[in-house]
């Protein structure tokens, strides 16, 4: 019937134009970059070869030289402690404020104010918050704790509030209709219904805070295994020692992941 008309499956509209322009620009920029790298006359294959030997030094022959195993483990726990503490502080602050940021629990004007403020806190990167707090607290662990707590709270307020908003409004309605007040509804319906979601977000934030804590050890002088890594790479230029630290961090990450998975499964039962 319509043999002569072309059927357009994906019509041109603003969205497709923007998408295609973006992809084309990325391709052109990538091509341009590769043809104009300043290689300082280093041979490409020699570079690949060196990368390989560096990685094998790092990953295949790890050993400790400048610090003992005990000290490394102690410093790993300092880093874990920094990540843990800032997550707990952030979670405690977030739990209270998220109740006031959830649209099904608080008046709209209040949720808008709190969500706006936390969006600002999150927009500034963690490292920057640490540096901002370093102005008054001095560079070190105090600034790291304050800055990381601040950003964690901003992140978790949003995550928790969205978890609260996702729960079935019917249960809130039912308890309200039976005469329960706000606090009773929060503790008897909202928190039990969102417990696993809150826990998932908190674990995720702990993972983020753990890796941030490594970086802060080096960048903000907060100590821990991050500082050891900074010394091994920048001061002793020892890739083998760096490898040992990498494995220590990796081991903890695996333990954390396994623990989190198990704990969540047990909650779900």
């Amino acid at each position: 019937m319509q043999a002569n008309t072309t059927i357009i499956v994906r019509p041109w509209n603003a969205a497709t134009v923007i998408l295609r322009t973006t992809i084309m620009s990325l391709i052109i920029i990538t091509g341009y970059a590769f043809t104009t790298f300043n290689t300082r006359d280093v041979d490409f294959w020699a570079g690949v070869d060196m990368l390989g030997s560096n990685f094998s030094a790092l990953l295949l022959t790890p050993y400790l030289k400048n610090i003992t195993f005990d000290v490394m483990i102690r410093n790993l726990f300092i880093t874990i402690g920094l990540g843990f503490l800032t997550t707990i502080f952030g979670a405690a602050i977030a739990l209270g404020l998220a109740l006031l940021a959830a649209q099904n629990l608080a008046p709209r004007w209040l949720t808008v104010i709190i969500k706006g403020l936390t969006a600002f806190v999150r927009a500034v990167p963690t490292v920057l918050w640490v540096l901002i707090f370093a102005v008054s607290a001095g560079l070190g662990s105090v600034a790291a704790v304050l800055g990381m707590t601040f950003h964690s709270a901003g992140y978790l307020i949003k995550a928790y509030a969205e978890s609260f908003e996702e729960i079935d409004n019917g249960t809130i309605e039912a308890l309200k209709a039976s005469g329960a007040n706000w606090w009773q509804i929060v503790f008897q319906a909202v928190l039990p219904s969102s417990a696993t979601a809150l826990l998932s977000w908190t674990f995720l934030r702990f993972e983020i805070n753990f890796s941030t804590a490594i970086a802060m050890g080096a960048a903000a002088g907060a100590g821990g295994i991050g500082y050891d890594m900074f010394m091994a790479s920048g001061f002793y230029l020892n890739l083998h020692e760096m490898g040992a630290f990498t494995y220590a961090v990796l081991a903890f990450a695996v333990v954390l992941e396994a623990g989190a998975t198990r704990y969540k499964a047990s909650l779900r039962k």
């Binding site: 079935d168 019917g170 249960t171 309605e173 039912a174 308890l175 309200k176 209709a177 039976s178 005469g179 329960a180 007040n181 606090w183 009773q184 929060v186 503790f187 008897q188 319906a189 039990p192 219904s193 417990a195």
Partner: protein, 262 residues
């Protein structure tokens, strides 16, 4: 003395047309009233105005001749504790056990702290167990609610309402999500509660035949107005037609069958 008097109740959402338009009726203690009408007629709105889950625009709801129009927070709570509510989607806290959900019905009577901590007296726990036994749920007391069937969940919803020791039970389409046999159990349960405990029941229903079988009185609503208020046996196809408007065709078939069975 009437238990409930709805006096010229109107409700308007924003600037839409009136969802309830000057509704006026009285319910005596112990009545079993069904409210029927097409979807969007205003049935849910009406029930939620009675327990002030939705603020009314004008008119009044009187309980035992006492106005409920302007209540402070304490009075509102006291008002709601006297009225149990049952929902189409049960509205239980799925992660909690059956008995915890039933005990939620006591929250309105408790201090904030006791409610927050979930401290219930032995008498309250005892009552919860008895109600669950009467509803045939004693085997499921410690199960999580998400492990129950729809019919069982609705019985938990009824138990939660009963433990309030309510004078009035509002049921918003309690059987709309259930299969016929579970629906029958729920309707029989409501009938039993009405007759044995003398609790007044107002139930929103979609199915005319169910309303005719169980209710003593049927109020038909269309576009926020009462179009009929009568005993089931005095309903005629013409009246049903007026309640349901153009949707009525197939309903009249049900209606004919109902009379054939009766």
């Amino acid at each position: 003395m009437p238990l409930l008097h709805i006096a010229k109740l109107s409700k308007r959402y924003g600037t839409d047309k009136y969802a309830l338009d000057s509704i006026d009726f009285t319910v005596a203690t112990g009545e079993f009233v069904a409210i029927i009408g097409p979807s969007g007629a205003g049935k849910s709105t009406l029930l939620r105005c009675i327990n002030h889950m939705i603020p009314m625009t004008s008119g009044d709801v009187l309980i035992a001749d006492a106005s409920t129009k302007s209540m402070n927070a304490t009075q509102l709570r006291a008002h709601r504790t006297q009225i149990g509510m049952i929902f189409q989607h049960y509205n239980l806290v799925n992660r909690l056990s059956v008995i915890e959900n039933v005990l939620h019905g006591r929250l309105g009577y408790k201090s904030t702290a006791a409610g927050v901590m979930g401290w219930y007296s032995n008498a309250e726990k005892q009552q919860a167990v008895e109600i669950l036994q009467n509803l045939g749920l004693s085997d499921h007391m410690y199960k999580r609610c998400d492990q129950l069937s729809g019919g069982q969940k609705q019985r938990v919803g009824i138990a939660r309402a009963l433990i309030q020791n309510p004078k009035l039970l509002l049921c918003d389409e309690p059987i709309a999500s259930l299969d016929p046999s579970a629906a029958k159990i729920i309707m029989d349960t409501l009938k039993d509660i009405n007759q044995r405990l003398g609790i007044t029941i107002i139930v929103n229903l979609h199915q005319v035949d169910v309303a005719m079988r169980y209710a003593q009185r049927i109020i038909g609503i269309n576009s926020g107005k009462i179009v009929c208020d009568a005993a089931p046996h005095s309903l005629t196809p013409d009246i049903i037609h007026e309640v349901y408007g153009s949707e009525a065709g197939e309903l009249i078939l049900d209606f004919g069958e109902q009379h054939a069975h009766a």
